[in-house]
């Protein structure tokens, strides 16, 4: 989907796209804001994406 390239009012920058950053970004959109999620590596997910199962549900971490 084409995303707006122009800066806009009502936007928040989240720096770091690990689990904390992704959660903050999702919550901000649900609260009515546009989010720039800035991540230094080529993909979001951070360390959590490297984990095997997570306690206690043994859910896959992706």
């Amino acid at each position: 989907m084409a995303k707006a390239k122009k800066s806009r009012e009502g936007a928040v920058m989240v720096l770091g796209g690990g689990i904390a950053g992704v959660q903050a970004a999702l919550d901000l959109t649900d609260l009515g804001y546009y989010v720039y999620l800035v991540e230094k590596s080529p993909a979001i997910g951070g360390v959590m994406a490297q984990l095997d199962k997570t306690f206690p549900t043994n859910d896959c971490s992706l």
Binding site: M1, K3, A4, S7, R8, E9, G10, A11, V12, M13, V14, L15, G16, G17, G18, I19, A20, G21, V22, Q23, A24, A25, L26, D27, L28, T29, D30, L31, G32, Y33, Y34, V35, Y36, L37, V38, E39, K40, S41, P42, A43, I44, G45, G46, V47, M48, A49, Q50, L51, D52, K53, T54, F55, P56, T57, D59, L62
Partner: protein, 946 residues
Amino acid sequence: MVEAGRSPNIEILTNADLLSLKGQPGNFKADIVQRPRYINADDCTACGLCTTYCPRHQVDDYNEGLNITRPIHIDYPQAVPATYYIDPRSCLHLTHETCQICVPVCQSKAIDFSQKPEERTLEIGAVIMSPGFGRIPEDTLAKYSFGKHPDVVTSIEFERLLNPSGPFTGEVRCLSDNRHPHKIAFIQCVGSRDIGCDNGYCSSVCCMYAIKEAVVAKEHDPDAEITIYYMDIRTQGKEFDAAQKRAEDKGIKFVRAKVADVMPWGDHLRLTYSTLDGTHSFKAYDMVVLSVGLESPPDAQKLADMAGFKLNKYDFCNTDTFAPLATSKEGIYVAGAFNGPMDIPESVTQSSGAAGIASGLIKKQRGRGIIHKSYPDEKEMGDEVRIGVFVCHCGINIGSVVDVPDVSNYAGDMEGVVYYTESLYSCSQDAQEVLKEKIKEHDLNRVVIAACSPRTHEPLFQETLKDAGLNRSLFEMVNIRDQCSWVHANEPGAATDKSKDLVRMAVAKARHIQPLPEQTVPVNKIGLVIGGGIGGMTAALNLADQGFSCSLIEKQDTLGGNFKKLSHTQKLIDQVKKNKLVSVYTNAELQQTSGFVGNFSSIITTGKGAKAKEVTLDHGIIIIATGAREHRPETALGNSIKYSKKIVTQSELAEQLEGKGKKRAPDSIVMVQCAGSRGDDLNYCSKTCCITAVQNALRVKEINPDSQVIMLYRDIRTYGYAEDLYQDARQKGVLFIPYEMDNKPAIAEKGGKLSVSFFDPILQDDVSMNPQMVALSVGMVPEETDTLSKLLKVPVTADKFFLEAHVKLRPVELPVDGVYVCGLAHSPKPINEIIAQAQAASAKAAMPLVKGYVTVDPIVSNIDKEICIGCKLCTSLCPYQAIQMVKDENNRPKAETIVASCKACGICASHCPTFAISMGGFTNEQLNSQIEAFGKEILVKETEAA
């Protein structure tokens, strides 16, 4: 992650660095630079052909260097964005201007070596810092032979070894010679609680992840012998002690010892350790796992300088106990491990909290930047079934195994199919345009796509259907990748036959699918907060900050709760009283609640005696902040306890120490930890007692430096920065002596004289003494949660704390939509965590209020009242309380779905004795025709064979 990738309101800027950040709260400017991927994200289909052809090898960072990959690659198939990238450090073209093999290989022409770094300026109202954590430096790991012997691995490396997508596809093998390790040791506190590497703090998460890794490793190989060497087991989180116990039951050994070193020893590793009694021992292991701590992120200082906020002495972000998510610069908030080592649930909690505060700060800008997509009107369906079938090659993913043209032609002969085709990548941007055109051209009113998993791609195709004026329910997806080409890779004929079966079944179902209306329910934009302690007040004020009014009910006659005496609490009480959006009801209790998210109605009683009255409150959400109180066990560790001036709880001691005069600090005191906790009287750890006890011990020493302070403990759980206090207390002469549950300390009082006796593991002897005082760390119990649990139909744990919807990912939401929890009612925790959780709960609670309506997935259950006999079976089975009984015009009881609460699980439909319930998109008619379509063909085949 996928959700973030799909949101039209999140722009993901990967490969991006912050260059500068300037401005004021509400109006910041951030300059960023995006390094090139050398691959166009819009064109890349993530088929993987480029990686196959790339001739260069490089170390796979995603697998912690345990594997090799190619310069052109993607870390893992589910990565977001699902676009490959070229690592400029090793690509032959980018380092030596040669090669470029990938360019002609890529069928979608996505590779572009001419890309340059791109600078952008972002205008934003607020910033959330979540850069995570860094790595413990390798020289700290060197004393354990890390780097010298391949079978000494870090815990993250071990995660990769356990992972099916890891270097040995999920088999744990020694890196030295590929054998399965039989004896594995975990060493705790590597790079944590270690002033040798300037990390005095405890990383808080390592004990728990080591236990998890050990248990998973044991599941891989039940015969593996696994030992965890630790100083204190710090499983202070909710239900964590129980997990540790389960690990012990599964045969994982826990040894309290300090590991001196690990040395190569023939084929093995020799681990030398010393125990409390002073003996040194060594043991041989096949593999040693280092439980590495969480370091501050490497660019922390740069980030702090750029943005103008402060770091603490360990280079993590500096925050205040009472404002745990705010950096020292207004408008910049912090969440996750950069705010100090923490686990996933706490990071998620902090993220929601930070989002909520940011939202409050710039609420005037709310909604201005959001993209609302609009769709054309849905077209008339007509009576004729016109199905279009699209079969996808997925590059070579499907096409190299399944005969795609054959499957597509097969579909063409089926009843109702008016158009069929194949495509190379049905998910690509141009394929969406083709899909739209074909829907128009052939007047299609149902679409079947045979491709990959609906889990990842159904929403994309449904979006395209909506763009083409079709209801999104008029879609059926067949997964011929996972279910055919992948699992039957060596049997192309059978894979093709199975694809045909699946397509036939989908088309049969598609003939019966109908458009389902998108339902929405409006929301009453008012909150109800239950409990007026620090958590409840914080939540109420936060809702108000975000622009929403709420009622705050407190059962005592004043606000404040457990921490009434703190000046911060007094400040909160003033703010709550002044805030026009918060209505306070004291002496108030909830009597009854009905309704569902967005539309609750509650009756409360408030006031005392003659002034008592009933009030009805209508509200959209509920936040539970009912708290906990100090536990006062009558027996602790087998001793019957008579509380007096000499035998006190830690909170009573704290109060006494607040007074004046040297005498308030005793000349000798024995503190007993876990008195009534962790399997004694209460089953759980109350998380805060160790920290409180150490603080009290320090205070005693400060007032009366000659005082003899002895603390008897099981594990000292001064996690995070509180480890500094523990360190300080030991230096100031507080004696810490561990006890075991099979040899508990004895406490007695005779004739006004106290005696405490215990076993000292260092002296290896029993010790008896007569201290002036005994202080017990007694733990916390939740305030009565049973009544509330029944009133709101929300579950509690065995320990009577409220049970969240998902322990990791939805830590402040309860399973009933629109009900949230924070503070001690969730689990014991210190003040900063209570505040962060309250901020998170109010942020989550604000979401339906901001939206103004609740969307209902069209696949919810639907009850035919004509057929329903009112047996109530469905209401008793529904796990979401989403079915209510109503009376029809003849006053007969009938079941009715509360669509806003229904999660479309289908339990009700599968149990209804009269088949009165059907699920949208999964009606009996649809499912039966699907099954029949499968069976008929098999029958024909069998007859032919006979």
